[in-house]
C-alpha cells in the first residue's frame, strides 16, 4: 500500500510501490518510489523532505554559541562529531585552537560516538535482513558507551558537549576507568558478532555481490565514508585533513575494493576495531591543562568564509559558514554525507530484488534527518 496515492499501474504496465515514508527499513522517513518488474527493481526515485527541519536556515538566526546544539539533531548517531565540526569551524574563524586536553577529549568522544553508531548500525543491519537477535547484542555494548556519554556529557544521544574553544566541561573523574572497562568488553564481543552474523551463510548470500558500486561511481556520486572506502576510494578525512590532532595518532584507514554490500559491512566492522585502537592509544595519554580556551561571551566571526570538514560515522561532513561580521552567521551550509550516499542508492539497487534494496540501504547506513537537515 502506498501512503501517497492509490495503487496503480502506469502506462507501460509497470508495478510501482511506494516504500515509506513510514516503513521499518527506511531508518526514518525516506520515501522511495520503486518501479518493479516482478521482484526486480527497475528504477528507484527517492523523495526527500519528510524531515526537513530547516536547520541551516534556523542557524542563521542563532548566535555562534547557540547554533551548534541544533546539529546534534542532524546526524543524531554522530551527534558529537557534528558538534565538533561546528565548533572547529567557529574556532577556525576565531583563529584559536582548542587546548590539547580538549582536543584529546573530543577525539575520544568522537571515536566513542563512531563506535556506538557502528554498533547500532550492525544491529540494525541484522534487523533489516531479518535476524532480530544481533540487534540486542549490539545494543548491549552500545548501552555501555551511552553510559560513558551520560556520565560525562549528561545526555545519551544529543550531547552538546563541544563548544567553541573546547568542551563544555571536563571529563568525569570516572571517565578513564570506565572507558577502559568498556573497551575490554567491546573487544571481547567482536568474535561473537562474527559468529552471529558475519560468517552466516544466509547473510553472506544476501550481501555478497549485491549493490555493487565502482570506485568511479563512488567518486562521481560524491560518496564518502565507509560507503566509498568499500569501493576502494581513500577518503578518510582523519587522514587527509587531520583535525584535533588526529595526525598524532596511529590508526589505519580501512580501504577495501569489493564495492558490494558485504564489503561495506566489513569496512565498518574493521572501523570499529580501529576506533577501539584510537581510544586505547589516547585514554591513558589525555594531556593535562584547560579543557576550554578563553572565548568572548558573544562570539563574532570576522567577515569571510570558513569551511571545516570532519569524518562522521557515515562520511565527510563539511560545515561552511559565511560571516558578515555579525554575532550570527550570514549563511550556513552543511555538506552532509548521507545526502550524497543516498544519491548512489538508485544506481546500486537497479536490477536487484526488493530484499536487496533493504540490504543496500542497511549497509549505506542512512540517517534521514541528515539528508533533509
Amino acid at each position: 500500500m502506498s501512503l501517497l496515492g492509490e495503487p496503480e499501474l502506469t502506462e507501460e504496465g509497470e508495478f510501482v510501490i511506494n516504500i515509506g515514508p513510514q516503513h521499518p527499513s527506511t531508518h526514518g522517513v525516506l520515501h522511495l518510489k520503486v518501479w518493479l518488474d516482478g521482484e526486480t527493481i527497475k528504477k528507484i526515485q527517492p523523495h526527500l523532505g519528510y524531515i526537513h527541519r530547516s536547520i541551516e536556515k534556523m542557524s542563521e538566526s542563532l548566535s555562534y554559541r547557540n547554533f551548534i546544539y541544533a546539529t546534534s539533531r542532524m546526524d543524531y548517531l554522530s551527534a558529537h562529531i557534528n558538534n565538533q565540526a561546528c565548533a572547529l569551524t567557529v574556532e577556525k574563524g576565531l583563529q584559536i585552537e582548542a587546548p590539547p586536553r580538549a582536543q584529546a577529549i573530543r577525539i575520544l568522544m568522537a571515536e566513542l560516538t563512531r563506535l556506538s553508531s557502528h554498533q547500532l548500525w550492525w544491529g540494525c543491519t541484522g534487523l533489516d535482513l531479518g535476524a532480530v537477535t544481533p540487534f540486542f547484542y549490539a545494543f548491549r555494548e552500545r548501552e555501555l558507551i551511552m553510559e560513558i556519554m551520560e556520565e560525562t556529557c549528561g545526555a545519551r544521544l544529543t550531547q552538546n558537549y563541544s563548544v567553541p574553544g573546547g568542551v563544555m566541561y571536563d571529563v568525569h573523574p570516572n571517565f578513564q576507568n570506565r572507558v577502559k572497562d568498556v573497551m575490554k568488553q567491546v573487544k571481547s564481543r567482536f568474535r561473537e558478532y562474527e559468529e552471529a552474523l558475519t560468517g552466516n551463510v544466509i547473510f553472506e548470500q544476501r550481501t555478497k555481490g549485491v549493490g555493487y558500486l565502482s570506485a568511479e561511481d563512488a567518486i562521481s556520486f560524491g560518496c564518502t565514508g565507509p560507503t566509498a572506502r568499500a569501493s576502494g576510494v581513500s577518503c578518510d578525512i582523519r587522514k587527509w585533513f587531520p583535525y584535533d590532532g588526529y595526525d598524532k595518532l596511529q590508526f589505519d584507514e580501512i580501504i577495501m575494493t569489493g564495492g558490494d554490500s558485504y564489503t561495506r559491512y566489513m569496512v565498518r566492522m574493521e572501523e570499529m576495531k580501529q576506533s577501539v585502537a584510537i581510544i586505547e592509544q589516547l585514554i591513558d595519554n589525555i594531556p593535562e591543562g584547560d579543557f576550554q580556551a578563553k572565548t568572548k561571551m558573544v562570539i563574532k566571526l570576522p567577515k569571510g568564509e570558513f569551511y571545516q570538514r570532519v569524518e562522521t560515522a557515515r562520511g565527510e561532513l563539511g560545515v561552511y559558514i559565511v560571516s558578515d561580521g555579525a554575532a550570527s552567521p550570514y549563511r550556513i551550509k552543511y555538506r552532509s554525507p548521507n545526502f550524497s550516499n543516498l544519491s548512489a542508492l538508485s544506481h546500486m539497487a537497479t536490477g536487484a530484488k526488493i530484499g536487496d534494496l533493504v540490504a543496500i540501504m542497511a549497509t549505506i547506513d542512512l540517517v534521514i534527518p541528515d539528508v533533509d537537515r
Binding site: S2, P24, E39, F136, L197, Q205, G355
Partner: protein
C-alpha cells in the same frame, strides 16, 4: 497423576463411545455427536495451546536476546497472550473499501480451518486420535497445502501491493517446499509400509526411525524440519510477511480478529508440523525403546505416552523457534535455489537410499 493420564485418554474415548452407542439408537446420530465432541475438545485444546506457544515464543526470544520477556501480566507474564487475544478480539476489524470484501473476510477462515483439519490424524497419546484414517500421511500433506489458497486470497483481495507481493512469494514458496516435505515423509512411509499414523507409531516400538533408519532418515528429518519451516512461513523463510521488506506481507491490511486468526493459524501450523515430525521420525507417543532391552523399555513405559508426544513435539518447536531468532531472512530467489538445487535433489537421492535400505532390510 501421570498414570492417570495414560489410562484416561484411551478409556475416556472408548467410554464416551459406548455410552453414546447405548443411549442413542441411531448410529448416524452417534457419529455426529462424536464428531461434535471431537471438534469442541480440539478447539478447547487448541486455544490454550496457542496461548502457550505464543508465550513460549516470546520467552524463548527474550532469553536468546538476553532480556526477560513478558513478566508483568499474570505469574511470570503467562497471561500476556490472553491479554493480546482479548484486545485483538475487541479491536475494530477493518475491511478496506477497495478490497474484495467477501474474499478478504473468507481468507483468514480458510487459513485457520485448514490448519485445524490437519490435526485430525495426529495421535496425541496412546489410542487417542481423532481420526485414524488409512491414508494419514497423504491426508496431512494434501490438506496442509490448501493453506496457500487462503494466503493468496488474503493477498489478492486486500487491494494492496505489499500484500500482493507477499502472497505471490508465499505461493511460490509453499508450492516448492511441499515437494521436499512430501519426499521426506515418503521415506518413512517406505520404511513402514503404511500411510496410517497408528501403524507408523507402532512400527517404532523397538526404536525410533531416526535411530533405526541410519543416516538417510536423519537426512530426511533435517530436510523435513527445514522444508516445513518454510511451509509454515516462519523465519528465516517468512518472505510472505517480511516485515522489513513488505511491511507485513499478505496480512498488511488485516486488523483485529482477522489478524488474530492468522496468528492462530501460524501457531497451529507450527504445532502440527512439529507433531508430524515427532510422529514420523521420533516415534510419536511411543516411549524411548531400545531393541530387546525389555527392562529398560518397561521403565520407559511408565512415562505417560502423552508426555512423550508433547516432549518430542516441543523439542522440534523449540528448534524451529531458534531458527527464527537466529538467522537472517533469505531472499526470494535464494529461497527457491535452496529448494530446487539442494533440498529436492538431496531428498530424491535420499528416497532412493531409503528404498534400497527398506528392500534389503538393513534397518533394525
Amino acid at each position: 497423576m501421570a498414570l492417570f493420564l495414560t489410562i484416561s485418554f484411551s478409556s475416556i474415548a472408548t467410554g464416551i463411545h459406548t455410552w453414546l452407542a447405548g443411549t442413542m439408537q441411531n448410529e448416524m446420530l452417534v457419529k455426529i455427536t462424536e464428531m461434535a465432541i471431537a471438534g469442541i475438545s480440539l478447539l478447547l485444546f487448541l486455544v490454550p495451546l496457542c496461548f502457550f506457544l505464543g508465550y513460549m515464543e516470546r520467552k524463548v526470544a527474550a532469553f536468546m536476546q538476553i532480556r526477560l520477556g513478558p513478566n508483568r501480566v499474570g505469574p511470570k507474564g503467562s497471561l500476556q497472550i490472553v491479554a493480546d487475544t482479548i484486545k485483538l478480539l475487541l479491536k475494530e476489524g477493518l475491511t478496506p473499501t477497495a478490497s474484495d470484501k467477501f474474499l478478504f473476510n473468507l481468507a483468514p477462515m480458510i487459513v485457520v480451518v485448514t490448519s485445524m483439519l490437519v490435526m485430525a490424524p495426529i495421535a496425541f497419546a496412546k489410542d487417542f486420535q481423532i481420526w485414524d484414517l488409512s491414508i494419514g500421511v497423504l491426508y496431512v500433506s494434501s490438506v496442509s497445502s490448501i493453506a496457500v489458497i487462503g494466503i493468496l486470497m488474503a493477498g489478492w483481495s486486500s487491494y494492496n501491493k505489499y500484500s500482493l507481493l507477499g502472497a505471490m512469494r508465499s505461493g511460490a514458496q509453499i508450492v516448492s517446499y511441499e515437494l521436499s516435505v512430501g519426499l521426506s515423509l515418503i521415506s518413512i512411509v517406505i520404511l513402514t509400509g503404511s500411510l496410517r499414523m497408528s501403524d507408523i507409531v507402532m512400527s517404532q516400538e523397538n526404536g525410533w526411525w531416526i535411530f533405526k533408519g541410519h543416516i538417510p532418515v536423519l537426512i530426511s528429518f533435517v530436510i523435513f524440519v527445514i522444508a516445513s519451516t518454510a511451509e509454515i512461513n516462519r523465519a528465516p523463510f517468512d518472505l510472505a510477511e517480511a516485515e522489513q521488506e513488505l511491511t507485513a506481507g499478505f496480512h498488511t491490511e488485516y486488523s483485529g480478529m482477522k489478524f488474530a486468526m492468522f496468528l492462530l493459524a501460524e501457531y497451529i501450523n507450527l504445532f502440527v508440523v512439529s507433531a508430524i515430525g515427532a510422529t514420523l521420525f521420533l516415534g510419536g507417543w511411543m516411549p524411548f525403546h531400545i531393541g530387546h532391552w525389555e527392562a529398560f523399555n518397561h521403565i520407559m513405559d511408565f512415562i505417560p505416552s502423552s508426555l512423550w508426544f508433547f516432549g518430542k513435539t516441543f523439542a522440534i518447536i523449540f528448534i524451529i523457534m531458534q531458527f527464527r531468532w537466529t538467522f537472517p531472512r533469505l531472499r526470494v530467489d535464494q529461497l527457491l535455489t535452496l529448494e530446487w538445487k539442494y533440498l529436492l535433489p538431496i531428498s530424491m537421492v535420499n528416497v532412493l537410499f531409503v528404498t534400497v535400505m527398506a528392500i534389503m532390510g538393513w534397518h533394525f
